[in-house]
């Protein structure tokens, strides 16, 4: 494996120096040791011996992932009530048309957007902040790290029950805090059709910020110390170091993190069921709960599968769009 020779395109250019207000190049950092040349193994020849080795994994993947997906796609074009004695009735695109006409789907899509946007806006900055805090060594660091990661591993049903108590009007801790700040302690977040979804979004942020804190922290740890040290020696402030060195270098991680946050928010189910049950009414329904109800309560398997197919397509679209947007931002 050969390393690429240093060249201008391999260099990170750090802008904005505080020297008499003049802007210019501060430092040229050679990142070539961190790059590997592509396709340098076996001189580009195809390895035929690999095929039998990947066959078992391929078979397993096909059985567990590909076949159910294809079956879901197939069934989405039929009406079927989930009873084996009932034949499939071809419905064409009727299930897909129903999806766009279904009022509960409109509510669910609105809720999903709220949860996704709130999650990104909440988790990324908080995760970055926490990650930068735990980069430093201080007394109690391990405790802080574990404390913030703990919500990630707690079962979502338990989290839902816990927050039902926390958000309980008058008696819950949240109501007491609101009262402390002069608000109305009778505030009933989970019982309010407009506020309940925001409560779900907040709880989801609480559950997941620890994971992303760890992701960002690992990425930050990989940044060479001499880079930040030399920036400090040259007079760069912490803010400048963070925005001009740290953030660009962990851009890939942030990209992955945003995709993970959006996917996690998109397929939320257990937290909604535990916290609100989709209520009050159907004000906190999401696509997963609607899919579940249509399949296992109403016996509309064809429609449920259509929801599943659209869910997969939207997930793919989100991934492509986000990757494209973030890649473009990083190039700028």
């Amino acid at each position: 494996m050969r390393l690429l020779p240093p060249s201008r395109k391999n260099l990170i250019i750090i802008k904005t120096i505080n020297k008499g207000g003049k802007k210019g190049l501060l430092k040229l950092f050679d990142k070539s040791p961190f790059l590997k040349e592509k396709n340098m193994s076996n001189n580009g020849k195809k390895n035929k011996g690999a095929l039998p080795l990947i066959l078992p994994a391929f078979i397993l993947y096909s059985a567990v992932v590909a076949y159910p997906l294809l079956n879901m796609l197939y069934t989405s074009f039929f009406e079927w009530n989930g009873v084996y004695t009932t034949p499939y009735v071809f419905a064409g695109l009727k299930n897909y048309a129903s999806f766009f006409q279904d009022e509960s789907v409109h509510i669910a899509l609105k809720n999903i957007v709220i949860i996704m946007v709130t999650s990104v806006v909440g988790i990324v900055p908080i995760g970055l902040f926490l990650a930068s805090v735990i980069q430093k060594k201080f007394f109690g660091l391990r405790f802080v790290r574990v404390s913030y990661f703990l919500p990630v591993i707690i079962n979502k049903v338990s989290v839902g029950l816990m927050f039902t108590f926390i958000l309980y009007p008058m008696k819950g801790p949240f109501a007491q805090i609101v009262k402390l700040f002069g608000g109305n302690e009778k505030v009933n977040v989970l019982g309010n059709m407009q506020l309940a979804i925001w409560a779900v979004a907040f709880v989801l942020i609480w559950c997941n910020v620890g994971l992303h804190m760890v992701l960002y922290s690992s990425a930050m740890a990989a940044i060479p110390d001499d880079l930040t040290e030399s920036a400090k020696l040259d007079g760069a402030s912490r803010r400048q170091i963070f925005f001009n060195i740290t953030l660009p270098l962990i851009g890939n991680t942030i990209q992955i993190s945003v995709v993970l946050i959006l996917m996690n928010a998109f397929k939320i189910y257990d937290l909604v069921v535990a916290l609100t049950g989709g209520g009050p009414g159907n004000s906190t329904e999401v696509l997963s709960t609607i899919l579940f109800k249509n399949a296992f309560y109403y016996g509309k398997f064809g429609y449920a599968n259509a929801i599943g197919v659209i869910t997969v397509l939207i997930s793919l679209l989100i991934t492509v769009v986000i990757n494209g947007v973030l890649r473009a931002c990083r190039k700028d």
């Binding site: 009873v83 004695t85 008058m170 009933n188 019982g191 059709m193 209520g279 009050p280 399949a295 309560y297």
Partner: protein, 445 residues
């Protein structure tokens, strides 16, 4: 080191081969002896009786174990699950896969309507009308499992429970506030401000559990307009947006607005509302007889009494109409010509025969069962006695109104919409939303 590792691996492989060979040999031996004995039939069973903490659950689990002891030629594969969503998912998955559970519990009506129509669930009318039938019989018992309104003859389930809502009253709280047990809803409304002033919830209700909201809605509808109203509503003669139903929903809304259920009913689920009553925070609650054993944990146990629900002064003729559901009924999916049929029917009879209810009667010291059981009043728990005395005076009743409709998701639609009464939504919007769904279903049928 490497050689030692290789030797260890060789030895462990040899041991595995040896053990495997021995087991096969002994397995073969066992097969030879079992073929001489009667062939064991395996049947699948599924219920929500899987939690030993719940007394009735524990009873049925022990009953099943007893069946297996007494019938070593029948192996029962128990697939039971407690939680409702998980239960429905698992059950529907077995049906969708083409291997439905041989015998399972359900609530009848829309719960299994499609399976009855598709022929998955079998007619058991000849079993329950046979001379050797020793289980529930009588008028009204099988109403929830009769699909004649859909043009299907037969009976499709045997209930094991009668779930009826009664009024639990904490007389200590009422005495403290200078009040008496209410007879009518008008009495309840008069009592409400007094109870609230003294810091009590007049009537506990866990509106977070949508089903409980609909139990209330059904009860109010029955007490206002009687049993005929249910039939007219289901047939379409009465609309959800019609005057009668609007009066029911508006009355329910007025109860909420006047604080009958406290300020935060929407934040409590069914467990929380029971806890509020048991802890002495609520003066009254509507609940099933199954919670009677829990009352013993209340410090106000001696002050708690059970009676029928209040009624409307304008409609005294409906005062003994109750919300009643026949629960946890056993249904079967096995054809008569299947080799498993006799075994499944045997289990069905065992789990629903008179002895089952007699044993439960002894265990709980009373109860209301889907068949008449001679009750030894000595030793019957006080609250259970009061419950049985009141229940005996009932003149009729029905399950939630939404279970009688043809549209499969009626219950979900009605429950979702009714719950929003507690979130400030207007009754006419709710009624309109429900009627719209029903109309859409009829138009697209």
């Amino acid at each position: 080191m490497k050689r030692k590792l290789e030797k260890c691996m060789m030895l462990s492989m040899a041991a595995c081969l040896l053990l495997g060979g021995c087991q096969q040999q002994s397995g073969g031996g066992a097969k030879e002896s079992s073929s001489e004995a009667k062939e064991q039939i395996t049947i699948t069973y599924m219920s929500r009786f899987a939690n030993e903490e719940e007394p009735d659950s524990k009873y049925y689990m022990e009953r099943l174990a007893k069946f297996q002891e007494e019938n070593p030629d029948i192996k029962v594969e128990d697939l039971s699950v407690v939680e409702l969503d998980a239960y429905k998912t698992k059950l529907k998955s077995t049906v969708a896969s083409g291997k439905p559970v041989d015998i399972f519990t359900n609530y009848g009506n829309n719960d299994i309507a499609e399976w009855v129509e598709s022929g998955v669930v079998k007619d058991i009318s000849d079993i329950i009308s046979a001379e050797d039938w020793n289980g529930p019989a009588g008028d009204g018992i099988y109403e929830s499992f009769n699909y004649s309104a859909r043009g299907i003859d037969g009976i499709y389930g045997v209930p094991t429970k009668v779930l009826a809502n009664m009024l639990y009253v904490n007389t200590r709280i009422l005495d403290e506030c200078g009040l008496k047990t209410p007879e009518t809803w008008e009495d309840v409304l008069e009592m409400t401000p007094v109870l609230k002033e003294n810091g009590y919830i007049p009537m506990a209700l866990g509106a977070k559990t949508k089903g409980r909201v609909c139990h209330w809605h059904t009860l109010l509808a029955l007490q206002m307009w009687g049993m005929e109203f249910k039939d007219d509503l289901v047939s379409g003669k009465e609309k959800w947006t019609g005057d009668k139903m609007m009066e029911v929903i508006n009355t329910f809304k007025s109860f909420i607005d006047q604080g009958v259920f406290g300020e935060f009913a929407i934040s409590d689920d069914a467990t929380a509302h029971e806890a509020r009553f048991i802890n002495g925070e609520a003066a009254m609650m509507m609940d099933l007889s199954v919670v009677i054993p829990q009352m013993k944990s209340s410090k106000d146990y001696d002050s708690i009494k059970v009676t029928r629900m209040p009624y409307f002064k304008e409609h005294p003729e409906n005062k003994n109409l109750w919300y009643i559901s026949m629960g946890d009924a056993y249904s079967i999916t096995v054809d008569k010509d299947s080799p498993k049929y006799d075994a499944v029917v045997k289990l069905l009879k065992f789990m629903t025969e008179e002895e089952t209810y007699k044993e439960q009667n002894e265990l709980w010291k009373g109860g209301v069962f889907p068949m008449d059981v001679e009750i030894n009043k000595e030793g019957t728990e006080r609250l259970m006695q009061e419950y049985m005395e009141s229940f005996a005076k009932k003149s009729g009743g029905c399950d939630e109104l939404d279970v009688y409709f043809e549209m499969p998701n009626t219950q979900d639609v009605v429950r979702n919409e009714m719950q929003t009464l507690f979130a400030g939504r207007e009754p006419d919007e709710i009624a309109a939303a429900i009627q719209k769904e029903l109309d859409n279903y009829q138009n697209n049928k």
